[in-house]
């Protein structure tokens, strides 16, 4: 049998990929009886998003309301949601305009769809900020078929004003896809204000979902015919998701995590306060700087840490000293061997736990 994982039971896990996807006990309980292959299809209604037992149809309607969109379907992940939009909206050779802070999967999805990629640059180190107004100029220059914005990027945890980009896209009459992998499920996303045409979500990243990968694609009805177009031969099967997408327990996980997600987004200000507190303490130490926007408004953060690199050069464990030291303190999530800079997340931890975390970093600075 595979070695049992204990990162969430024995450690403070600060891996930014994982903090928003941690499951609660109800979610894990719900998965138990749906762990067998295709068990969500006991009462198949012809397509996954129309199943009424378990009531996925109702869940997706509630999620559409929660996000402020017209319709939502499951996808295998956020990247598959982005690809579905790219593949259905664009012809080969069309141009799409993307922010420079995008995840690599946006590029890969665009490449597979055969489109030409143009970028809105960030302002470089140390903040790597994306200015929403830059979309205006770049739309005029590149005449894109689709605009993509990474609402919160996974490198720096910068939040871009999606409302401003949405407004520009409406003025320029360009469809707008918002990648909310690090925002929806953590903070309130109100598309009635943002005005995006498509919202891509990552449930295993930010909606407390386990049991597999799961994404969501929420759209405005005017694109229904194109993006949710069904097969000629199989009228209930949406082409872009090859009929049905995530046919496993991750959908059950979402069904059971969603009530807590709906509540937790209301407490986003607590998460931001905790992140700010942690950052301010960290950067008060010589040899530690924040990369990304400051003041910082998200739990994902990136530190440049020449001081830790200096210690690594003298330490017997070299670059592994930090990971090894933190492991002994019951802290994990930083890539072993990294000391020049590292990414982390404070999401879901109490102030008391973050105090412990900060004190552990302070101890590491004295090694």
């Amino acid at each position: 049998m595979t070695e049992t994982r204990c990162f969430e039971e024995d450690y403070i896990n600060i891996n930014p990929l994982q903090t928003g996807g941690k499951t609660n006990s109800d979610t894990r309980k719900s998965i138990d009886s749906y762990i067998d292959g295709y068990s969500v299809c006991d009462f198949c209604a012809g397509s996954l998003h129309k199943i009424k037992k378990p009531d996925f149809e109702k869940l997706l309607n509630e999620i559409s309301q929660f996000l402020g969109c017209d319709e939502t379907i499951f996808t295998n992940g956020c990247r598959e949601a982005k690809f579905a939009v790219l593949n259905s909206l664009c012809e080969k050779g069309d141009t799409v305009l993307i922010d420079e802070n995008r995840h690599y999967s946006t590029d890969v999805a665009a490449e597979l769809a055969g489109v030409k990629k143009e970028y809105v640059k960030n302002n470089g180190a140390p903040t790597f900020h994306i200015n929403p107004e830059d979309y205006r100029k770049r739309i005029d220059e590149t005449k894109p078929k689709l605009v993509i914005l990474t609402h919160v990027d996974g490198n720096y945890g910068n939040i871009v004003d999606a409302e401003k980009v949405g407004k520009i896209c409406r003025e320029k009459n360009v469809p707008f896809l918002l990648n909310t992998a690090y925002s929806s499920g953590r903070m309130v996303i109100d598309n009635k204000k943002i005005g995006a045409d498509f919202i891509a979500c990552s449930c295993h990243k930010s909606w407390g979902v386990g049991g597999g990968t799961l994404g969501l694609l929420a759209i405005n009805k005017k694109f229904d015919d194109k993006v949710f177009k069904t097969s000629v031969d199989y009228k209930k099967k949406i082409l872009q998701i090859l009929g049905c997408s995530a046919r496993g327990s991750s959908t059950i996980a979402l069904l059971n995590s969603f009530p807590s997600v709906r509540e937790r987004v209301k407490k986003w200000n607590v998460e931001v306060d905790n992140a700010k507190w942690f950052i301010d303490n960290m950067i008060s130490n010589e040899g530690i700087q924040l990369l990304g926007d400051y003041p910082h408004m998200h739990d994902v953060m990136h530190f440049e840490t020449p001081k830790f690199d200096e210690i690594a050069n003298k330490h017997k464990d070299k670059g592994y000293f930090l990971h090894k030291f933190l492991d002994k303190k019951g802290i994990t999530g930083i890539i072993p061997g990294r000391t020049k800079s590292f990414k982390m997340s404070t999401y879901g931890y109490s102030r008391k736990q973050l105090e412990y975390l900060y004190e552990s970093f302070l101890e590491a600075l004295k090694l």
Partner: protein, 57 residues
């Protein structure tokens, strides 16, 4: 659902609640008074469910 199956799931769910206590208190697992009470309650439930299961099967 048959009684024996229900008992297995009930035991699993109680274990899952205990697992959550570990998750909530990382890394030192210093449980509050309420958390200790919950732990005892769940352990008693598991014992009771497992005893009943043995009698049934």
């Amino acid at each position: 659902m048959k009684k024996e199956t229900q008992l297995v799931y009930d035991s699993l769910f109680s274990i899952e609640d205990i697992r959550q206590l570990l998750r909530d208190t990382v890394p030192e697992h210093k449980l509050s008074k309420e958390q200790k009470e919950l732990l005892k309650k769940k352990v008693e439930l598991i014992k009771k469910d497992c005893d009943e299961l043995v009698k049934l099967l």
